[in-house]
């Protein structure tokens, strides 16, 4: 990493009264806008703006599996590629998968599979592509949120939409929908994704120390965030090709 792109840590990430560095309250989300069906060639697609994130998700399939020997006789093969565009970051990112994107491709795939009726499409592949065009903290849960809409847009039968949200810990505060500086210098970071219809958690990661009490509170807060995002997802699906945009000023 070239040092000209190094960022300085801000002195204060959150004020005594809970005001966050970007002015949000602890449980306030960033603006979200969703558009379903933005691509013509893909079987399903969705474009998502979430804070400064710009995410494009597309789905191909069910289709033939190449190479053939990867096909599963009792269910669809689900493949997922999470990719950061070279221009998505402050310093240009070299194209091609790095270790982080390999892990994220795996956890996103494993977050989506439980929602898909994979047994209905034996011997086929469903390919999910998540492109991060612009990254601003929370790309994995933004990616899951967009990808589950792309799956729905492709007409793939789902147990429910998968919805993601992140909670962070900053000093004594738990904050909803972690922003860029909070992601870089916060004390803990918990992304979570859920099938809202069944209340099953399909993605959960955590990095940073939390007491058992903080942990339970964090999960509840993340689920609150998901509940809110889920409404936007449903709205976007009801009106395909119409942009659903929400700037959340109040609390969730």
């Amino acid at each position: 990493m070239n040092s000209i792109f190094t960022e300085e840590k801000p002195e204060v990430l959150i004020q005594e009264d809970g005001t966050r560095i970007d002015g949000r309250k602890p449980d306030e989300m960033r603006p979200i806008s969703i558009e379903v069906g933005v691509l013509r060639k893909a079987n399903g697609s969705a474009y998502l703006e979430w804070g400064g994130n710009r995410v494009l998700a597309a789905v191909y399939g069910p289709r033939e599996v190449h190479p053939r020997h990867l096909a599963l006789p009792d269910r669809a093969l689900i493949r997922c590629r999470y990719n950061m565009a070279p221009f998505s970051t402050e310093e240009r990112k070299r194209p091609g998968p790095d270790r982080r994107s390999v892990e994220l491709s795996k956890v996103i795939r494993e977050a989506l599979i439980p929602a898909i009726f994979v047994e209905r499409f034996p011997n086929t592949a469903i390919d999910i592509f998540v492109e991060i065009l612009r990254s601003d903290a929370g790309t994995r849960i933004a990616g899951i949120t967009a990808a589950s809409l792309a799956l729905a847009d492709a007409g793939i039968p789902l147990r429910g939409l998968v919805t993601g949200c992140t909670v962070g810990k900053i000093g004594k505060w738990l904050v909803l929908d972690v922003g860029h500086e909070e992601d870089m210098w916060g004390d803990a970071d918990i992304p979570l994704a859920m099938i809202m219809e069944t209340q099953e958690i399909t993605l959960l990661q955590s990095d940073g120390t939390l007491t058992p009490e903080e942990f339970k509170e964090a999960l509840n807060l993340a689920i609150k965030g998901c509940t809110y995002v889920y409404e936007l997802q449903k709205e976007a699906l009801r009106r395909p090709y119409v942009v659903v945009e929400k700037e959340v000023k109040g609390e969730v």
Partner: protein
């Protein structure tokens, strides 16, 4: 290619050829008619300049990033431009993940050549310390939705991204290491505005801006770039073979089309 595909490809070609014989194209365009161009508004990347362009149903997103580094030894007084095309697998069922294949590499080099051939960017203005430290520009050309004629869509998006680009000022500190001068930037020194025009030949008929169907059955394909003085600044014959007269005809059409497309560019960027 499976049997059914070959049959449908043969039938498609016959159909397009019959239409051509009566001066028509399947999507209703004339032979020398370019599909509608749409330049999206918004911020989609963290680039210095960017453009999301739709050419018909083809969509591309191009963005310019920078770094600083050493110049090439044989041009110590020039900045560096590196162009890269990614044929994203979400853009087409025929694109696969992985490093750029020969098609992506050819496209990147042909787009790049349009700007180099016309000396469109004054790279000598991108030097921080001669022979030691220069701007390295990365032009990343992202294909999002593939319905034919990527060459022209990519060159167009690159031109707009260049025209919009603001380059942060970098100075060298007393310890010899580079640092950004907070809040200062300058426009990319863009001194020419090349545009690319692609043609396919189906039978004996030359068509501009081919869509995917037309490309898939074309007997030959050709891309050329025209600069602001209507000179030819790059050519790339691709598959197939052309007669000399066909090439000259393509040049003539492209020179007529240049002002037409440039007018649309001028709607979104302020270039002479």
């Amino acid at each position: 290619m499976a049997l059914e595909e070959r049959i449908s490809s043969t039938l498609l070609k016959e159909h397009l050829l019959k239409l051509a014989q009566v001066g028509k194209r399947k999507d209703g365009r004339k032979f020398d008619e370019i599909r509608p161009i749409e330049i999206k508004e918004g911020t989609f990347t963290k680039g210095l300049g960017e453009a999301w362009v739709a050419l018909g149903k083809t969509q591309v997103l191009t963005s310019l990033k920078f770094d600083v580094g050493e110049p090439y030894p044989d041009s110590p007084d020039k900045g560096v431009l590196i162009s890269n095309v990614e044929l994203l697998p979400l853009a087409s069922p025929s694109f696969e993940p992985g490093p750029p294949d020969e098609n992506a590499i050819e496209m990147a080099r042909v787009v790049d050549r349009a700007f180099r051939g016309s000396d469109a960017i004054d790279l000598s203005k991108l030097v921080i310390q001669e022979g030691k430290l220069v701007y390295i520009l990365f032009l990343d050309l992202y294909v999002l939705d593939y319905d034919g004629n990527l060459f022209d869509a990519l060159t167009l998006s690159a031109l707009i991204a260049f025209a919009r680009a603001k380059i942060p000022v970098v100075e060298v500190g007393e310890d010899g290491s580079p640092r950004l001068v907070e809040g200062e930037s300058f426009p990319l020194p863009l001194v020419d505005y090349p545009l690319s025009f692609s043609f396919v030949k189906i039978g004996d008929y030359l068509m501009i801006d081919p869509n995917l169907e037309e490309e898939s059955v074309a007997d030959a394909a050709l891309t050329l770039a025209i600069d602001k003085d209507l000179n030819i600044c790059s050519i790339q014959k691709r598959n197939g073979a052309f007669k000399l007269s066909e090439i000259n005809k393509a040049v003539d059409i492209a020179r007529v089309k240049y002002p037409e497309v440039m007018e649309q560019v001028r709607k979104v960027v302020d270039i002479a």
